[in-house]
């Protein structure tokens, strides 16, 4: 197995410099992917999070299977599920999903930090879909694939006559989901405005809390992740009525979304990257987004 894996590397290196994979080339790569899936990286104690009795988690006996995690608490999880299945199919691997968060028995990520994803990746899945590409935000033991879609952060308004943020009186506060890149961009903008001439900004614990604060009148505007608004509009009539407004005077904030793997899964990451590129090139991902009327673009 070791020799087989070694033989695969030059091919990966060669193809990684191209723009995508043909189905024929992906078929050639498939045995290598299988080999790499079976060989879980050796843990480096200094670099990875502490997991009690980590020996309990053996190799993923997946054979020709791509096991992936989807978090049902992510608003885009139905999209991530379809894209993950498409990636597995592109790699000629059987798709095996581990769904987190839709059942109290599997609601097993605290979300406090990324340490939990380490346990998920050694225990349940080879790759975990639904993570934004934020520079320098991930620890060295994690790597992230190329993005499979790009979406935006959007402002919703309490008053439909406000066509942009600039129309909102500074007496009304903005509720922003705390810690997003758009929230931080807004914070920087507000810091540059003299006191008394800027909006107050309330940190909100979630996109849903930010939207409910607008509905409830606590805030005049909400700054949320567009896929969250997309998901909540389906289930909440009050939120569904909230109009969007342009972010000006701020620019549009975007974020790319991909999947995470353990850093040592470099071959698998490369294979998934190439599969995503291929799925974008042939329109598969765009079709998934369009079918769901999802606020994102495959790029």
């Amino acid at each position: 197995m070791r020799d087989e894996a070694l033989r695969c590397h030059p091919a990966v290196s060669h193809h990684a410099s191209g723009t995508g994979l043909t189905w024929f080339r992906m078929r050639l790569l498939m045995p290598c992917v299988v080999v790499l899936l079976c060989c879980r990286p050796v843990r480096s104690p200094a670099a990875t999070p502490f997991v009690v009795d980590e020996w309990r988690f053996g190799t993923h006996e997946t054979n020709a299977t791509l096991t992936y995690c989807i978090d049902a608490r992510d608003p885009d999880w139905p999209i991530a599920r379809k894209i993950a299945a498409a990636v597995a199919e592109a790699l000629l691997l059987q798709a095996k999903e581990y769904l987190i968060g839709n059942d109290p028995r599997t609601e097993d990520m605290s979300g406090e930090d990324l340490d939990d994803t380490y346990r998920m990746l050694i225990q349940h899945c080879d790759v975990f879909f639904g993570f934004k590409l934020v520079p320098d935000a991930y620890p060295s033991w994690l790597t992230i694939t190329r993005p499979y879609y790009r979406s935006t952060y959007v402002y919703v308004a309490a008053d439909p006559t406000w066509k942009s943020l600039a129309d909102m009186p500074t007496t009304r506060p903005i509720g922003a989901t705390v810690g997003t890149s758009a929230d931080m961009r807004l914070s920087q903008y507000l810091l540059a405005i003299p006191a008394g001439k800027r909006w107050d900004k309330y940190p909100m614990s979630s996109d849903e809390a930010a939207l409910r604060a607008v509905v409830g009148g606590t805030t005049g505007a909400g700054l949320v992740w567009a896929p969250a608004l997309w998901a909540l509009r389906k289930t909440d009539a009050g939120i569904a009525k909230l109009p969007q407004m342009a972010p000006s005077p701020l620019p549009v904030s975007t974020a790319d979304v991909g999947a995470i793997l353990l850093s040592k899964q470099s071959f698998l990451r490369s294979s998934i990257d190439q599969a995503i590129a291929s799925l974008i090139a042939d329109g598969t991902i765009a079709a998934i987004l369009t079918d769901e009327d999802f606020p994102g673009a495959a790029e």
């Binding site: 978090d71 608490r73 097993d108 406090e112 989901t177 006191a195 309330y202 614990s205 606590t218």
Partner: protein, 596 residues
């Protein structure tokens, strides 16, 4: 002897031997003769008087006494004989973060294991008397990490009272381990959890809640419970709510946008004043610009101090009313808690003896208040820090170094880093020598506020990268144990070492101070000089609160070791060459040889 007699004799002999064998088979095997005495038979209910004036042989609460000293009055182990200390017994614990403080009473040692297993052990032999295993939700077990560690338990009357990882308080029969009552305080699914343990005051169970960075409206609380049933009697919110006189201290952000202020360490009690002292942790998210308390709002009556984070609360235990408070660090933007043990010490100050409450926050600055009024009295710096530029000698108000304040889009340097110049491993005080002993660490952080938004709810305190480094010009040493003479606040000695300090300190009346570090070494120092008198290499990081007790006139020192504490793991990144095993949590108990 006739044939019949012989026959009868043989029958009797066979019967006696058979009965003897049967008896032997039925009696549990005890390997140590001394263990034959069942300490549960002589176990006395713990009274208020015992808690107020504990037997020197016992260790009845987290810091042993209500004044929070963490000092043992036992003096059989001395500077002269500590070199002869030997292992008396060991007991394997559940693997995982092991930050435990044993409770010892009448020869029984109660120990908390990771993942909510409680055991009663014979304190002389280490034999198991009973065991309680919490049936935790699988989710909590899978999450693991530090959340299933507990730093202390409480004992009162016939009950051992414990807090659980699923936010319950449970009273166990101290003799049998049977559950007397089980009270749910909050919903763990919302992030509430306990890492500190309960504290008994005036016949009530007091308990601080943590996990309040997890977006719970209104933050954390300290609650009081009926010791017979667990029913809640009062609750003190640690974030100022609407209606609170300090509600306008959050820069105008509404209650649903105020996070943090966990009460994750047990309190102290002044019986003379009938006043409880609790520490409160930092606000969340850690970066003030992200949580909306910077920039400061220009509006009358609005401040951005974020009360009651990083404060001492003086609470009337009868009503739960806050008599006074003091905030040590306003608008904390570094994760530099002031939550740790409060020591109640009477010391001379400006020619008068003052009743003080003394604590040391993560900044490593020792600070004293008058515990009757909350008046700030004095401060003393220990480890290198660059956050506080000056402290007003009259009021204690701190001038913050603007260069150390994190800003979105920048990387700034702050010392110490977020695990603190001191962390949860407790300081301790020897009242005989009026000396405070502190486990300390020297390090800094390159701090960069960072968006980290994988799409889920905000459920944590982070939102910044804290790249920890040695202090500028460091000689490579990270860990320290300091001895400070509190009467004049002079440093008596300072022991510096490469390995980070990861356990609490234990001074004893024998003139010895015990403490341990990440490098698995448990040491004893001469408390007057700082000379190392004894050390032992254990199997894992020293990561608990050492205690000392005696049974039948023999003094023991007990300390738990183990890997998994997030505090220790953070410090360990500074010394990557020092590694410890993943597993192997153990309670080590030491004593002098019997010949002594």
């Amino acid at each position: 002897m006739s044939a019949a007699d012989i026959s009868k004799f043989k029958w009797c002999k066979a019967t006696i031997i058979g009965l003897a064998l049967l008896f032997l088979a039925a009696v549990p095997v005890r390997s140590q003769p001394a263990a034959a005495a069942d300490p549960t038979k002589s176990l006395r209910p713990v009274t208020d008087e015992m808690l107020l004036h504990p037997d020197p042989a016992d260790w009845l609460m987290w810091r042993r006494t209500y004044d929070g000293f963490g000092f043992s009055p036992l003096n059989q182990i001395t500077r002269d004989n500590v070199k002869d200390l030997r292992v008396a017994w060991t007991w394997s614990l559940t693997n995982g973060a092991t930050e435990s403080t044993p409770i010892v009473h009448d020869g029984i040692l109660y120990i908390w294991n990771y993942a909510d297993k409680v055991q009663a052990l014979n304190a002389v032999t280490g034999d198991l008397i009973w065991e309680y295993r919490r049936d935790l939700p699988q989710t909590i077990i899978d999450q693991g990490l530090n959340n299933m560690a507990k730093r202390n338990m409480a004992i009162y009357q016939d009950k051992l009272i414990v807090s659980t990882s699923d936010a319950h308080l449970v009273a166990l029969n101290a003799k049998t381990g049977e559950v007397a009552w089980d009270h749910q305080t909050a919903d763990w699914r919302q992030g509430w959890r306990y890492t500190a343990g309960p504290f008994i005051v005036d016949g009530m169970v007091l308990q601080g809640m943590t996990g309040c960075g997890n977006a719970e409206p209104g933050g954390c609380f300290i609650s009081a419970h009926d010791v017979q049933t667990g029913a809640e009697k009062w609750r003190v919110w640690t974030i100022a709510h609407p209606g609170d006189p300090n509600s306008d201290s959050w820069n105008g952000v509404p209650l649903e946008s105020r996070f943090g202020a966990s009460a994750w360490v047990a309190g102290s009690f002044d019986p003379q004043q009938d006043l409880v002292f609790y520490g409160v942790g930092q606000p969340y998210p850690w970066i003030a610009e992200m949580r909306g308390t910077l920039p400061a709002k220009a509006a009358p009556g609005i401040t951005n101090t974020a009360l009651y984070s990083d404060s001492t609360l003086a609470i009337d235990p009868a009503t739960g009313k806050v008599k006074w408070y003091h905030q040590y660090l306003q608008n904390d933007t570094w994760d530099l808690d002031y939550v740790y043990e409060r020591m109640l010490i009477d010391l001379p100050f400006n020619g008068k003896t003052r009743q003080m409450v003394i604590t040391t926050g993560k900044l490593g600055i020792i600070e004293a208040l008058d515990r009757t009024t909350g008046e700030w009295l004095w401060a003393k710096q220990t480890v290198p820090q660059n956050v506080v530029a000056a402290i007003d000698a009259e009021t204690g108000a701190k001038t913050i170094n603007p260069a150390a304040i994190p800003h979105i889009g920048k990387t700034t340097v702050n010392c110490p880093a977020d695990p603190g110049g001191r962390g949860w491993p407790a300081t301790a005080y020897n009242p005989n020598t009026q000396t405070l002993f502190l486990p300390l660490n020297e390090f800094c952080s390159n701090t960069t506020p960072t968006p980290l938004d994988p799409g889920q709810a905000y459920t944590g305190g982070g939102r910044a990268i804290f790249a920890r480094t040695l202090v500028p010009g460091s000689d490579g040493n990270v860990g320290r144990v300091d001895a400070i003479k509190l009467t004049d606040r002079s440093t008596t000695w300072s022991y510096r070492q490469r390995a980070p300090s990861t356990g609490a300190v234990l001074p004893t009346a024998g003139g010895v101070v015990f403490a341990g570090a990440w490098d698995r070494i448990f040491r004893a120092w001469d408390d007057a000089t700082g000379k190392v008198l004894w050390q032992v290499r254990t199997n894992n990081a020293i990561n608990g609160f050492p205690v000392s007790y005696s049974v039948n006139g023999k003094q023991y020192v007990a300390v738990s070791v183990g890997n998994g504490s997030s505090h220790a793991k953070s410090l360990a990144t500074l010394t990557p060459e020092i590694t410890v095993p993943d597993g192997g949590s153990v309670l080590w108990v030491f004593a002098l040889p019997d010949t002594q």
